[in-house]
């Protein structure tokens, strides 16, 4: 199976990621997932596509650190993070996070923590492509 942390151009399968998450242990009682998708409307404008740029070596290293930190901090059994790069169309998948723990609370908390930290710490930038032009996204909560 693919690495637990990946940056990739192609789409991913949520089912395959969850299957891989579960493959190493039958002790998981709770699995939480987060799927980030490309919206077709933002800041009052129609959005056709979203382009991603990244400082890939640092982005991958930061994602790996985040996974390790989440496992230690929340006592997870396993965690996976996949983020797409390149250009995605409105409605497409962007990012997937899956966390598995013995109980639901740490899985849910870790999943929320991971996407919040990813936005703060991982050097990836998104550009919205609209019928009237392109604009880099300003981070917001």
């Amino acid at each position: 199976m693919n690495d637990a942390v990946r940056l990739q151009l192609e789409d991913f399968s949520q089912d395959e990621e969850v299957r891989a998450l579960r493959a190493g242990s039958m002790r998981m009682g709770g699995i939480a997932t987060f799927l980030g998708c490309a919206r077709d409307f933002s800041e009052g404008r129609e959005v056709c596509e979203i382009g991603f740029d990244a400082y890939r070596p640092m982005a991958l290293a930061e994602l790996q650190k985040l996974r390790t930190e989440a496992i230690e901090r929340f006592g997870l059994i396993e965690a996976r993070i996949v983020h797409r790069l390149g250009t995605v169309r409105a409605g497409d998948n962007i990012v997937f996070i899956a966390t598995g723990a013995e109980h639901r609370a740490p899985a849910l908390e870790a999943c929320r923590w991971l996407i919040d930290e990813l936005k703060e710490r991982v050097p990836i930038w998104k550009k919205e492509i609209t019928p009237s032009g392109e604009a880099w996204v300003t981070p917001h909560p």
Binding site: D53, A54, Y55, A61, V95, V122, I124
Partner: protein
Amino acid sequence: MITVLFFGPVADRVGERQIDVPFREGMCWQDVRDELTPRYPEAFALVSIAAVNGERVRDDVRTPLADGAEIVFMSRFSGG
């Protein structure tokens, strides 16, 4: 030589993704920033994060660069 990389909105404003800056003994990443800011003021107005050789660096810590170092000047991230 020091390699300076730009990504995303900063790269758009610089108009390049890479610039080479001559290495000088004792220079720190802050010296490179101070040298490039007047050349690319609009780009550096966005810069709030820097990394040296893939590691985030703090503005208040000056560590001399090695010849061949890679610096990245970045705006706030917007992935996810």
